[in-house]
Symmetry: C2
Subunit: 198 residues, 2 copies
């Protein structure tokens, strides 16, 4: 005796998702069967089906967007500076701060010899073209504080050396609310290097 | 700046599921977009869509099944005893023990004045009919050790009093591997009541 085929199939679908094991998948499938309405299931189903066809990469900056050009790139009052990030999620995170009025550029990954990702696999060419075409005056590199993030930042810095623009890396240090006691050594070294006069 | 509409819609779909908050839903939707293939999304989508139409309740015992009669009810060598449970999941759990050769009856809920569930809302009538039609000799009530479970068990016991069949309740006590130190009082009282000569 197993679950009905249809339930079993949905359990397997849920198990494709990260962090969802057999027990959770069972619980979700049971919930879908017993608690979701036909309309909920229909819309859920449709949203999965149209996911890839309805999402575009902005042809300018590479962010996930509703159209070929995202709303940031098509906004004429955005400042002529660019934050370079690894993925689309990072753009949303920066936008949530409501502090930055410039533009973004999404690399769609980081340089990683280990994973076989070379600069040619990422959106660098379009970045260099944009800097010229959009008369960008400042580039802030906001890749992660990992080896791959550092390597990618260095590559961008070297590539832009000949141009007359400000290139910077976002600051490192203690996170807001961070406790010295729990900070690792690298973070503390970076925090010391990044000290500011009070 | 928000996520693209299509991604946002899928995030909302995932949030309908229990235990999935905004952050997890975001992670799942991103994973679905970037890591699942078109075929995976298509099958996931189809499995949601066909969920309700492809699953039946067994017309005899009430368990979720592929057809109108489940494989247990249509198996002629199953013994003439019935375990009464709250839901279909419980049947699977008992079947996994591989120790029981009888049949089941799924009430599809428990009596609960609080939630407005009366005996008329549950599969009792079909239980009483089956006992007669299938010449059942023993009924084991396996509802949960909760107030609702107890109330339901009592209702069944009273309803079957006039019939000449064994009616029992599954045993209570310490779970396998259970530590006395962490057992609550009710469990200990029930474990004492359910003591067995060694």
């Amino acid at each position: 005796m197993r679950y009905p085929e249809a339930l079993q199939r949905l359990i397997e679908s849920f198990q494709m998702l990260p962090g969802i094991g057999p027990k959770t998948a069972e619980r979700l499938a049971f919930f879908a069967f017993s608690k979701l309405s036909e309309e909920d299931l229909l819309s859920f189903s449709r949203n999965l089906l149209t996911l890839k066809s309805d999402i575009h990469y902005c042809k300018n900056c590479g962010v996930l967007a509703d159209n070929d050009i995202c709303e940031i790139c098509s906004n004429p009052i955005r400042e002529k500076r660019i934050i370079v990030v690894e993925g689309s999620k990072d753009v949303i995170i920066f936008e949530k701060t409501n502090q930055y009025q410039g533009k973004y550029h999404v690399l769609n990954g980081l340089i990683s010899p280990m994973k076989g990702v070379s600069p040619d696999d990422l959106n660098f060419q379009s970045l260099f073209e944009r800097i010229e075409n959009e008369q960008i005056t400042e580039v802030v590199i906001a890749t992660s504080a990992t080896i791959e993030g550092e390597m990618t930042a260095l590559y961008i810095k070297n590539s832009l050396e000949k141009l007359n623009i400000d290139v910077s890396r976002i600051g490192y240090g203690l996170p807001a609310g961070g406790d010295i006691e729990y900070a690792d050594e690298i973070t503390l070294i970076k925090a010391l290097e990044g000290r500011k006069k009070m």
